[in-house]
Symmetry: C2
Subunit: 370 residues, 2 copies
């Protein structure tokens, strides 16, 4: 892997000088005794002249001892969803592995089974007039339910189609990590549309318009017995029921995308094709961003693709944090001829990086005249 | 597990005295040098007064040495799907595990990765006038393609809706085990409708009519990191695009269904509710059949369920074979007040067992008057 970490990123991507824009200390815990471990991986939208980030806020429960791990889950009590704190004493659970800051597993290798997550995530809106200075709401915007989300709501993506914002996110429970859909027209009233991709499937990104009469979404199933975590492309008539699933792009054998590949931000339409920022991790779970350029009429047709990462963990806040060596996007905006990438850094803060369309094409080896 | 193997099955289920009805020696190989290892797990339909079994036929390539494993896969050559024989020498591949007759894996435990299947399955029709004496076609009815089925087509289920037969089956490739759909009106012309459930998802059974305006199907995703192989219920408007997925029934902690649970036969409508024959395996991969009775208007509502297996491996041909200790159904018929279960035995033959509706209700603890 060593040569991957010394690549000099020669893209003219500009990190925002205010990075990180949002940090855990700016977020009020949703319950007394909770501690905010991360505000990261956000869906992005413009609504009424405001920049809206729908953030994943991850919380644990304060613990006074290194040996005691405490985190909330959601349970159903008398028909209402309530927090319940799970307490695990490490020294009394030697069969469990606490090495990964994100999960508690039985078994250590890549095939280990996740017994619990160490945090519970909900979704919360942060707002800004300029796209740089954000204020996050005092309270959660959408809390997980006690059924298919009792371990949390993660990594929302927002796709605007006409006057409706389609929010897809990872719903986590002991049944697995599925993708669910919520719609809103005003970011105040939300409608749950249920599970759109069965477990295990994350990193769903929906195209912002129909192509040849069909909606399309990328998604990333994780099969158990056979196969790797690859990107698939699916079709829909109504954004709720999906089919005609096709394998789109797989994990490569070597380099910065040999571990897993997926999602990223919902595609952006440009003259030369769909711009699809995606994420890829190597086998050491170092997460970078890359980009596909896709044919406007045939979204399964790749016109160009990053050979090297578009963005990789280089800054202190990307290399260090709740889970270090991670840049991970759930949403971009296309404004003034540039792509604004909001991204989670090290699974605990939200950052921004801008790149002009010309420089993005150049990264893809495409000249302006091509 | 021991007490599971000495349960005396007290259901009045009647195995056919001609069992097994179809055996590998009755099937002509699809290519010279091939050997038919199994004819099993068949979808079932009535068509023009004939009983139709759409059988899974599994083939390997003849090998003269215990140390040499040979099997076919499908590859694309000049735009055409062709057989290619893979040859593996056991003694030269010590990193691989050949212990399971069905798969070649890297790693031995339940989390091992499947590198190859030992056989390639295609679909072939067997026909009968009386439902007992079957003749299987000389040639494959549907051959796998070189893309998402290059490792085979397995375990077809047939659901008739109006004049169309919907055939769903497991399409296996290095991308994973997905569920694909084919339609036919005459069992001569077949239309491929593509992938309806992303990998890893098998054991799909489609209801034979709309319920409250929606089609429904059970399916069985196998998530990797979190969750167990459980049954989910999904909705559709067109049988091609599926959504509103809901967890239906999970693996239990003990007994005959503590390993995996799934599929079985498409549901049968009766006066008291939907009869849903399913399969369950324990942690030793001993496969039994059970039955759910589901509310006619709310297919997610379980009215009754087998406490003990409805059918379990007891006969010689069920306990011994390509993969022993297996009874596994993909299709039933409801005729003359009885349910006719066609089932694969030991992953190599096709058998039949009948049970009257009254006895099925009795197995479920439901009296005739209830």
């Amino acid at each position: 892997m060593k040569e991957q970490t010394i690549i000099i990123n020669d893209t003219n991507i500009a990190r925002c000088e205010n990075n990180p824009l949002l940090t855990p200390d700016m977020v009020k815990p949703s319950c007394e005794g909770f501690i905010v471990k991360g505000v990261f991986n956000c869906g992005v939208a413009k609504y009424k002249e405001e920049y809206i980030l729908l953030c994943r806020v991850a919380e644990a429960v304060k613990s006074d001892s290194e040996d005691v791990v405490k985190f909330p889950v959601i349970v159903n009590e008398d028909g209402k969803s309530c927090f319940k704190t799970i307490t695990l004493i490490k020294s009394e659970n030697s069969e469990l592995c606490f090495d990964d800051s994100r999960t508690i597993t039985r078994g250590k290798d890549g095939n280990s089974n996740v017994v619990y997550l160490t945090t519970l995530s909900h979704l919360r809106i942060a707002r800004s007039k300029d796209g740089v200075h954000f204020t996050i709401d005092e309270h959660p915007t959408i809390m997980p339910n006690a059924e298919n989300e009792c371990w949390g709501m993660e990594d929302p993506r927002i796709t605007r189609i006409d006057d409706t914002y389609y929010i897809n996110y990872t719903a986590v429970s002991p049944y697995g990590a599925e993708t669910a859909l919520i719609t809103t027209k005003d970011f105040g009233n939300f409608t749950r549309e249920g599970c759109i991709f069965l477990p295990e499937n994350k990193d769903v990104t929906i195209f912002p318009e129909k192509i040849n009469g069909k909606y399309y979404a990328f998604n990333r199933p994780v099969p158990k017995a056979i196969g790797t975590p690859d990107i698939w492309l699916s079709e829909s008539n109504d954004l709720i029921h999906w089919g005609k699933h096709q394998h789109f792009y797989g994990v490569s054998d070597t380099g910065w995308e040999n571990g897993r590949i997926g999602g990223g931000a919902p595609p952006i339409k440009t003259e030369k094709g769909w711009i699809k920022i995606y994420h890829a991790a190597d086998r050491n779970s170092r997460y970078c961003l890359g980009v596909f350029l896709l044919d406007l009429e045939n979204p399964d047709k790749i016109l160009a693709k990053s050979e090297k990462p578009l963005l990789e963990p280089e800054e202190y806040y990307e290399k260090n944090g709740f889970f270090g060596e991670v840049v991970f996007t759930c949403g971009c905006l296309y404004e003034d001829n540039k792509v604004i990438i909001y991204y989670g850094a090290a699974d605990d803060t939200i950052c921004r990086a801008d790149i002009s369309l010309e420089e993005l094409y150049s990264h893809l080896g495409i000249g302006e005249q091509s």
